[in-house]
C-alpha cells in the first residue's frame, strides 16, 4: 500500500466534488466520511507492520520529492486521520439539525486540511513542505472565516496576514538554504548544514523560526491565535488545535533535529517554550470567553510540547509525543462539547457552564480537563511527568520551575471551570445529546483513561517513535541509499 494515497485521495475528492451534487444531498458527506474511514483503516493496517518506507514521486531521491513513512510519521498520520474521522462523524450528527449552507465546500476544506497535515508530516523535501504549509494555511484561513460574520472575517483576515508574513520568511529561508547548500532534500541539507558559516546558519535558523513560529504559535508570535479561535466557530477550532498545530510542530522539530543534531540552540528553545507556556496561562486566567480561554490553554500546552521537544533527547521527545496525543484528544472533546453547548445556549460566555444540565457532558469535559491538567490516571499525566523529569535530569531547574508555576495557574482556572460546571443549578431543561455524539465523546474519553492508567499500551511505540525521530543517520541512509 502506498502513503501517497493519504494525499492523493483527499485531493481527488476535492477536485471531483461537483459530481456529487448530482446524486443527492448527502452524497458529499457520505463519500467524505467513507474516504476518511478508509484512510484511517489504511494507516492502522500500516501500523500493524510498521516498516520504514520511502515513497518516490517522479524521480528517485535525493533529486526528487519523496515521502518517508517511519514509525513517528505513522503515529501522526494515524492520529490525524482518527481525529478527522471523529470530527466528521460528529459533524454528520450535528448537520441534521443545522446544516451549513455550502456544505460541499466545507467537506472539501477539511479534507484538504487533512491532506496537507499528512503531507507536512510525510514530506522529505523542504520546498514541498512549503507547499503543504500553504495548503494547510489557506484552508485554515477559509475555515476560520467560514461563518462570514464580522468577527469571523476579522479572524480570517488576521490569520491570513500572519500566515502570509510567515510564508515570506519561510521562502527566504528556503532560498538561502538552496543558495548555500544546493539541494532541497532534507537529508542532503542535514549532511552539510552544520558546516555552513556560523552567521549564515544563525540567519537561516532565525528565518525558519520566524516562518514556522507564526504557525506553531510560539511566544511572541502568537498574538493572533486567541482572536482567530474566538472568531472561528468552535468545531473548526477542534481542527486548528488538534491537527494543524500538531503537524506544524512536528515538521518544525523534524527539520530542527535534522539540521542541528548537536542541539546548539536547545537551551534557548527550552526557555522559549517555558515562557510561552507561562505567558499563555497568565493571560488565560482573566478570560471570560470559553473559546478564548481554551485558545490560551492550547497555547500553554503548545509551550509545554515545545519545551519537551526542544530538549532533543529520547525522554523529552517521548514526553512530547505523549502530550501531543493526550492534548489532541482532550481538545477534540473540549471543542466539540463547546460546539454542542454553543448550539444550545447560543453563547460562549464562561457563565454558560452554570446552566449546563447534562451529566454526561459534564463528566466527559471533566475527564478532558483533568487530562489537560496532567492529573495521574489520565493520559496527560505521563507526558507532563516525563517532561518534568527530563528537565530535572538535564539540570534546567529554572525552566522546570516555570512550567510548574504555569501548571499551577492552569489548575486555578480549570478548577474554576469545574466549579462552574458542578455548581447546583436550578435549570430543569436537559441538554439532549444524540447517540452518535455520545459514542464519540465516550470513546475519546475512554482512550484518555486507558492510556493514562495503562501507559504501557503505547509507551513502547512512542519510545520507538522518539528514537526514530532523533535518529538522523537512518533517515539519511534511507533517502540517500
Amino acid at each position: 500500500m502506498s502513503s501517497t494515497l493519504f494525499i492523493a485521495l483527499p485531493l481527488l475528492f476535492g477536485f471531483i466534488s461537483p459530481l456529487f451534487s448530482k446524486f443527492g444531498k448527502n452524497t458529499t458527506a457520505i463519500v467524505s466520511t467513507t474516504m476518511q474511514l478508509f484512510l484511517f483503516l489504511l494507516s492502522l493496517s500500516l501500523l500493524v507492520d510498521a516498516k520504514p518506507y520511502v515513497e518516490v514521486i517522479s524521480i528517485n531521491p535525493p533529486l526528487g520529492i519523496s515521502f518517508v513513512l517511519t514509525k513517528v510519521s505513522l503515529f501522526f498520520v494515524t492520529l490525524f486521520t482518527f481525529l478527522m474521522l471523529m470530527f466528521s462523524l460528529y459533524y454528520m450528527s450535528y448537520r441534521k439539525t443545522i446544516p451549513y449552507k455550502n456544505e460541499t465546500k466545507f467537506f472539501i476544506l477539511i479534507n484538504m486540511l487533512l491532506a496537507s497535515a499528512v503531507g507536512l508530516v510525510l514530506s522529505s523535501d523542504i520546498f514541498n513542505i512549503y507547499v503543504f504549509f500553504e495548503i494547510a494555511g489557506i484552508s485554515a484561513y477559509i475555515l476560520s472565516a467560514y461563518k462570514k460574520t464580522p468577527s469571523a472575517l476579522e479572524a480570517g483576515i488576521k490569520y491570513l496576514l500572519t500566515g502570509a508574513i510567515a510564508s515570506v520568511f519561510l521562502v527566504f529561508a528556503i532560498a538561502l538554504i538552496y543558495l548555500n547548500i544546493g539541494s532541497l532534500n532534507l537529508a542532503v541539507i542535514s549532511l552539510s548544514f552544520e558546516e555552513l558559516p556560523h552567521n549564515v546558519k544563525i540567519l537561516i535558523s532565525i528565518l525558519l523560526l520566524v516562518g514556522f513560529g507564526f504557525k506553531i504559535e510560539i511566544f511572541p508570535l502568537n498574538f493572533w491565535v486567541s482572536d482567530v479561535y474566538e472568531g472561528s466557530s468552535a468545531h473548526v477550532n477542534t481542527l486548528f488545535s488538534a491537527i494543524v498545530v500538531k503537524a506544524y510542530l512536528f515538521v518544525f522539530f523534524h527539520i530542527l533535529y535534522l539540521f542541528l543534531p548537536s542541539g546548539e540552540f536547545s537551551i534557548f528553545l527550552i526557555y522559549l517554550g517555558a515562557i510561552s507556556m507561562l505567558v499563555a496561562e497568565i493571560v488565560a486566567l482573566k478570560q471570560t470567553n470559553l473559546k478564548r480561554l481554551f485558545a490560551y490553554s492550547s497555547l500553554g500546552q503548545i509551550g509545554l510540547i515545545f519545551t519537551a521537544f526542544a530538549m532533543q533527547n529520547q525522554d523529552g521527545v517521548q514526553g512530547a509525543l505523549y502530550i501531543i496525543f493526550a492534548h489532541s484528544i482532550a481538545k477534540t472533546i473540549i471543542f466539540l462539547s463547546l460546539t454542542t453547548i454553543g448550539k444550545k445556549y447560543n453563547t460562549y460566555d464562561i457563565e454558560v457552564l452554570k446552566k449546563l444540565n447534562s451529566n454526561f457532558l459534564k463528566v466527559v469535559m471533566l475527564i478532558a480537563m483533568l487530562s489537560l491538567l496532567g492529573i495521574p490516571l489520565f493520559a496527560g499525566f505521563v507526558g507532563k511527568f516525563l517532561t518534568l523529569k527530563t528537565l530535572a535530569v538535564n539540570g534546567t531547574f529554572l525552566a522546570m520551575g516555570i512550567i510548574l508555576l504555569a501548571s499551577l495557574l492552569e489548575a486555578v482556572y480549570y478548577f474554576k471551570l469545574v466549579g462552574f460546571m458542578f455548581v447546583k443549578n436550578e435549570v430543569k431543561e436537559v441538554l439532549e445529546i444524540n447517540k452518535t455524539q455520545k459514542v464519540i465523546f465516550a470513546s475519546l474519553a475512554i482512550i484518555l483513561i486507558i492510556v493514562g492508567t495503562f501507559p504501557f499500551v503505547v509507551s513502547n511505540f512512542l519510545l520507538d517513535s522518539a528514537n526514530v525521530l532523533l535518529d538522523n543517520h537512518s533517515f539519511i541512509t534511507m533517502l540517500m541509499h
Binding site: S2, T4, A8, L11, L12, G14, F15, I16, S17, P18, L19, E55, V56, I57, S58, I59, P62, L63, G64, I65, N102, K105, I108, L109, M112, A115, G119, F127, N128, V131, F132, E134, I135, I138, S139, Y141, I142, A145, Y146, K148, K158, L161, T162, L176, Y178, L179, N180, I181, G182, S183, V188, P197, N199, V200, I202, L203, F223, W224, S226, D227
Partner: protein
C-alpha cells in the same frame, strides 16, 4: 489584541525597526555571498537530457517536482473556492454603467487573439518559455476583458466546473497511473522519445500535464475574476 497595537506604529520607529533588521541580514549576506556551488539543478539538467523536454524549467516544474505543482493547483483551487464562498454567487446584480462602444468593439476583436495567444503559450510550454500557469492566466484575462465590456456576459458555470473537475481529477489520475505502472506517483509512463526533443509531440506526460494545468488555472482564474467583478453592493 490588535495586530499592530503591540508593534511600534509611528513612521520613525517603524523605519528604525525594519532598517535594523534588514541591515543585520544584509551584513550577514554580504560577508557570506553564496558562491556557485554544485547544485541539484546541475544533475537535473543532465537528467533532463535523457528524460526531459526542451524547456528544462518545464521538466522541473511538471515532472521532477511535479508534486509541488499538484499542491499549487490545490492552493489555487482552494483559493477560488474560498473567494466563491466569500463573494456569494447569490448576491449578484448587474452593473448599471454600460461600457462604451469602443471598448466593446475592441474586445470583440482582441478576444480571439488573446485566446489564441494563451492557448499557444499553454501548448508550447514544454518548448518555449511559458506553460500552463501563464497560458491559463492569459486565457482568463481574455475572459476578464469580456466580463468588463459586456454586462450581460456570464460564464457558463456548468461548463467551467466540468472543466475544473476534469482537469484536476485527470492530474491526480495520471499520477495514480504512474504509481500503478512504474511504482512512482506521477511517473512518466508514456514513451518519451528524446531524439524528438523540440517537437510538439515529445516528452510523454509532461505536455499533457501542463495543458491540464493550463485548463485548470484558466477556469479557476476566470471564476475568481467573475466573482470579483459581479459581486455587487448588498441591497
Amino acid at each position: 489584541m490588535s495586530l499592530k497595537r503591540d508593534l511600534p506604529t509611528s513612521t520613525m520607529s517603524g523605519f528604525a525597526l525594519s532598517a535594523s533588521l534588514v541591515l543585520t541580514i544584509l551584513n550577514i549576506l554580504l560577508h557570506n555571498i553564496p558562491n556557485n556551488i554544485q547544485t541539484v539543478g546541475d544533475e537535473l539538467l543532465k537528467l533532463n537530457q535523457t528524460e526531459g523536454v526542451a524547456n528544462a524549467v518545464t521538466t522541473v516544474v511538471v515532472y521532477f517536482r511535479g508534486f509541488d505543482t499538484l499542491g499549487e493547483i490545490a492552493v489555487l483551487f482552494i483559493a477560488s473556492l474560498g473567494i466563491g464562498l466569500m463573494l456569494d454567487a447569490n448576491k449578484r446584480c448587474d452593473i448599471k454603467a454600460k461600457s462604451n462602444f469602443m471598448l466593446q468593439t475592441a474586445s470583440k476583436l482582441l478576444f480571439p487573439i488573446i485566446m489564441l495567444f494563451g492557448i499557444y503559450v499553454m501548448v508550447y510550454g514544454h518548448l518555449s518559455p511559458g506553460g500552463g500557469f501563464q497560458g491559463g492566466v492569459i486565457v482568463a484575462s481574455g475572459v476578464l476583458l469580456l466580463l468588463i465590456s459586456f454586462n450581460e456576459f456570464e460564464l457558463s458555470h456548468k461548463v467551467v466546473s466540468m472543466l475544473e473537475m476534469f482537469a484536476g481529477a485527470s492530474y491526480v489520475i495520471i499520477g495514480l497511473i504512474g504509481l500503478l505502472v512504474l511504482d512512482k506517483f506521477l511517473g512518466n509512463f508514456l514513451p518519451n522519445d528524446v531524439a524528438n526533443m523540440g517537437m510538439l509531440l515529445s516528452g510523454g506526460i509532461i505536455p499533457i500535464i501542463y495543458i491540464i494545468v493550463g485548463v485548470k488555472v484558466g477556469s479557476e482564474m476566470s471564476v475568481i475574476s467573475e466573482n470579483l467583478i459581479k459581486r455587487c453592493e448588498d441591497v
